[in-house]
Structure formats: structure tokens, C-alpha cells
Symmetry: C2
Subunit: 345 residues, 2 copies
């Protein structure tokens, strides 16, 4: 293959082909060409296919800006997030994109730390570009983005972030996930199940802890800490430093804590999963798979959440009525080896 120097150095070479060129080539008017290509209007099959052939010969692709100007939509949505690390946003984004790509919709990703000024710049840029809608997302469901998205004149769907009242909002079902985790441990015959989790200040921590307590039936004990491996270690120290029966299962608030717990137990020669089952939360591949043994954990199905967010924002954009309120999407148990039990994979 040969590359002209020109091409690589300064971009564009060939002019874009317009519908006018297609019309010329097919020997019809621009209007007819438009109708032929969009499968609208009525005309002989022969004409339609002649136009389509001309278009494909010329490599015609309609200019989305011209089209958008008329149709008042850009086939574009914005995904706004303050999750710079992407732990939650990326799977969400994958879902959104997967849902929308077939409809020709592209996604602007806007990452806005926690800077209101930056957020406003991004939102304004999206609005200028006439996005069909905005999906607001974050890294925790009890904090709002640092920008007001109400009264925008484009639809907004909130996913994995706190939403104003009456908004359309999507979160994962923390309580349900928690329940699944505990039920699985009980299924495996565990009876002394402890919950080691993150800071009390997180709504999801309270939600999961509440569901845990209900599921274990009053006998539970919850240790709050930070979202770190370090805390997992420390929690094990605390649990094993007191006398009496040790736990036979530890349900952790996230995979990092779970990894810390598993490592700490191994260092004490407590066998996982033989003596103690450990279950995580998040299914963060890099953590869950590298743990020895690999973590059984709860997946929040963020990709599915993203798909749903994409679906809803487009529905709203199309003028459909969507019931406002918070939708909780189910979590899913992912079985690896840290609990024992059935092995999928």
C-alpha cells in the first residue's frame, strides 16, 4: 500500500461527495435522491435502486450536520461523569454505546472531576452540539454531580449517581445484591457470617448492611471501615484477636476489602474457602481474578444499566413518556472459588 505524503501530512484530500453528486450520477433531482436513500416517498423500484447504486459507487455518506439541522437531532448523546478512574463509568459507557451504536448514535464522554466550572463547560459544549440527551453518572449513588441538569431542554437520565426528585434514575439493587451474597453463603452451610464493609457515610453501605442484617436474621455483625485492602487485613486482625467462635464466612463490601481479607486469612493459615468463605462485591476483574483463590463476588451489571440508560434517554428524546423515579436493576452472583460451592467458568 502506498501513502501519499500529502495525505498523511495535512489531512483531507478528496472532497466529500454530497447528495447532489449522487443525484447527478443517477440522473435525478436532489429531492428524489433524498427520498430514494431514506426509503421515503414513492417512486419506481428501478429509480430507487439506481440512486442507491450511484450512492454506493460514490461512497456517499450523508452529512449528519445538515440532516441534524433539519431534524433537530444530532444522533449524539453525552455521558457526563465524575468518576475519573472509570471503575464504574467504563462498563456503563460500554452498555450505553452498545445499545445506541446500531441506531447511529455516538457518545460524548465528558469527565468532570468535581469541578463545577469544568462541568458547566462540558454541558454547554454538549448543548451547543444539540445532543439528543444526557446521561449523568458518577461513582456513588448518594452524591450529585456538581452541576444542575434540570430545565435543560434535553432529556436527562441519571445512572449510578444521585438524581433530583422526579427524574428518571437508574441504580443497581444494593439490597438485592447483599441478599444474594448472604443467601449463597447460607446455601453453602455457613452460619456465622460477618459483614466487613466501607464507610458508613455511603448510602450503599447502609443499604447493603441493612439487607445483610435482615438476611442473617439478627445475629449479624457489621464492621465499617474504608474501601481498601488494608482495611480488609485489619478487620481480620480484629475478628481473630477476640476469643470465641470465629466467623465461617465474611461478606465484604467490595472486592478490594475482600482481597485484603483473603490475604490476611492466608497469612494466618486460615483456609479459604475450606474454613472460611469470603465473598466480595463489584466483580472488579483485576482484583477478583488476581486474588488467591479468585473471588466469588456480586456483579452490579453496570453494562446492562448502561444499556437501559441509553434506551431510556433515546425514548425520552423521541418524546415518549417515561415514568420518573428510581429504577433498581438486579445484581448477579459471580461464582469463583473463594466461597467453595459450584464452580462455573
Amino acid at each position: 500500500m502506498v501513502f501519499s505524503r500529502e495525505t498523511q501530512l495535512s489531512g483531507p484530500t478528496t472532497k466529500r461527495v454530497r447528495i447532489y453528486d449522487v443525484a447527478q450520477a443517477a440522473g435525478v433531482s436532489v429531492a428524489t435522491a433524498s427520498k430514494a436513500l431514506n426509503d421515503t416517498g414513492r417512486m419506481t423500484e428501478e429509480t430507487r435502486s439506481r440512486v442507491k447504486e450511484a450512492a454506493s459507487n460514490l461512497g456517499f455518506r450523508p452529512n449528519a450536520m445538515a440532516r441534524g439541522l433539519i431534524q433537530r437531532r444530532s444522533f449524539t448523546v453525552g455521558l457526563l461523569t465524575n468518576d475519573t478512574y472509570g471503575r464504574f463509568t467504563l462498563p456503563l459507557m460500554a452498555g450505553v454505546s452498545e445499545e445506541l451504536v446500531d441506531q447511529g448514535v455516538s457518545v460524548f464522554l465528558c469527565t468532570i472531576e468535581d469541578d463545577p466550572a469544568l462541568a458547566k463547560i462540558h454541558v454547554d459544549a454538549m448543548l451547543d452540539k444539540q445532543v439528543d440527551g444526557i446521561i449523568a453518572s458518577g461513582k456513588r449513588i448518594d452524591r450529585q454531580l456538581p452541576v444542575d441538569l434540570t430545565n435543560l431542554n434535553v432529556p436527562v437520565v441519571y445512572a449510578f449517581t444521585q438524581a433530583p426528585a422526579e427524574a428518571v434514575s437508574l441504580v443497581s439493587d444494593d439490597a438485592g445484591g447483599s441478599r444474594e451474597a448472604v443467601e449463597w453463603l447460607k446455601t453453602l452451610g455457613r452460619r456465622r457470617i460477618v459483614h466487613v464493609t466501607g464507610p458508613k457515610s455511603f448510602a450503599s453501605v447502609e443499604e447493603r448492611a441493612g439487607a445483610y442484617r435482615t438476611s442473617v436474621g439478627g445475629s449479624g455483625s457489621v464492621l465499617f471501615g474504608t474501601w481498601s485492602e488494608q482495611w480488609g487485613h485489619e478487620a481480620v486482625s480484629q475478628l481473630w484477636s477476640v476469643g470465641g467462635d470465629k466467623p465461617d464466612a465474611i461478606f465484604c463490601g467490595n472486592d478490594q476489602i475482600a482481597r485484603g481479607v483473603v490475604d490476611a486469612l492466608r497469612e494466618r493459615d486460615v483456609s479459604v474457602p475450606d474454613e472460611v468463605s469470603v465473598i466480595g462485591f463489584d466483580n472488579w476483574e483485576i482484583v477478583a481474578a488476581a486474588t488467591r483463590p479468585p473471588l466469588t463476588t456480586i456483579d452490579m451489571n453496570l453494562k446492562a444499566l448502561g444499556r437501559e440508560a441509553g434506551r431510556l434517554v433515546l425514548a425520552l428524546a423521541a418524546g415518549e413518556t417515561v415514568e420518573p423515579g428510581i429504577r433498581k436493576l438486579p445484581c448477579q452472583l459471580v461464582i469463583r472459588q473463594s466461597c467453595g460451592g459450584v464452580l462455573r467458568n
Copy 2:
């Protein structure tokens, strides 16, 4: 704050204000309003500010599609990647966005697994939307994306992925980073430095290994394996199972391997960093910071690489001439505790 049900349920309420409305309010023609707002043309300062005030009162924002149709640019660039996990793409994206947001440019993120059909759909969608340029990126520098981006009629910049000859391409300086790692170990007085790295089939592995060999001066030894913690463990087993002098430093091909190495050494009661210094590569926060002790490592400065990619693609779009070829951007030593030595932080 009160939310009208209407607003939340079916999106748009107020009509967008057009430049026509601004012109009316300011009592001038649309043409004058345009010039006033864009600081072009000549008119009394009074008129100009009157228009600007009207615009800001009405909350006017120009429709980017209408504007783009004329100017033939969309103030939009596409970031194409096959790095679904986002390990490399996210920092890159952050850099691109940071560089471009001030210029009003938004970024489409398109993740394309390794599916050529999906890639084509995404590229076509971007082209239809008249992106000003495309940044192609990936997860390794010796593999191409599954799509041909030459002869596109928009500029393309390659970042962290293999580029065709004569393209503008950005990668991090693997050899330089490797050299920095080894030099740092030597500075700390280490003399028996071993390199534990990933699969030989990766160009960056060969590149780093080559620079390592040069830097240690012929006495080196390189162990190739996989990019996993597991392999880090195993490598330590191998190294410590043979007789003779043990290494006093291990330079790892990535942070995951380094973590495996550190964990394995701790399990053998070999002190890090007192007896052995361990240095990683990537500065993947989640891994580097959670390791005990936290990893000293090499950062590839992907965010800076992203900024540069953004800068270049816009320069190309503006018709500027950019020298083709591969640009290597410097890596940077990040000192934590796994090597000993100065403590920043």
C-alpha cells in the same frame, strides 16, 4: 426547587433561542448580531455590547450544527480504541479532553473490541458527524486496530497503537523508561538486577528488555512470562530455587508482575526494600498503591500523550503541516517504597 412534571417526563420545554431572537432583542439584523457575537466585522462598540448583552440575557448559545455546516467543522474528535478495559485509554482520553475542552471540542469515545464490523460502524458514524479528526489508540503498540484509517479525508493521529508508515504516531518511550528504572536501582546501590517481564511477543517487552540489558551492562538476566501477579510469584520461585547469589533488585515489566513478586518475597521472608528492591512499570494506581510496600514504578505519562495527540489532531485539522513519524514521549519514575531511597509523596 420545583420540577414541572412535564419537564422530567418528556424532555424539552422551552424553545432554543436563535440568533434571530438575539438580533430582534438588540434591534439589529441577524448579520450584525453574528458579527457582534463573533468579534468579527466592524461596528460601534456600543452596538457590539448591546448585542452581547441581549445574547446573555436570553441565554443564547449558537447551534453548533448550523455553524459547523458552514465552517465545515464540528468541533468534535473521535477517540477510537480496542482497549475495552480502559487501562490505557482512560488516561489518554483524560489528556485529550483536557487539551481540547477549552477550544470547545468534544470527544466521541468509541470502543471496538477487536471487531472489524463494529469498528467500521463507529468510524462511519464519526465520519458522518464530520469529526475534525480521529485519534486511534489501543492497548499495545505493535498491533493495529481492525480497521483501515488511511485515506479517510479527516486527519488521524495514532496514540499507543501501531500506525501505518508515514502516519503521525505517539508512543511512550519504553526504552527510556526501562533505563530510568535500572539507573534508579543502580543509584540505590543495587548490582544484581534481574528483569521479570511479560511475553516476548510484545514489542514493548523486547524494547524494555533491550534497554535493560544495555543499562545493566551485559550481566543481566531476563525472565519472560505473562502479565500477571501469578507470574511474578512463579518468577520468584524460580529465582530463589537455584543456588548462588540472589538478586538484590527486580525490575518488573508491569505493576501486576511487581505485586506478585513483592507478595512472593514477603512470603519467603525476604524484606522489600531492605534486601531486595522491586520496581514496576505502568503506575497503575490500584495495583501500585495497594502493594505492601507500595510500588516504586515507571509512569508512561499517558495523559500527556493524550494531550499531545489532541493538540496534533487539531493542528492537522487546521491544515497545519505536521512531521509524520513516531514520537516517543518520556516516561517518569514514580517513587514509593518498594525500592527504598527518597520518599516523595
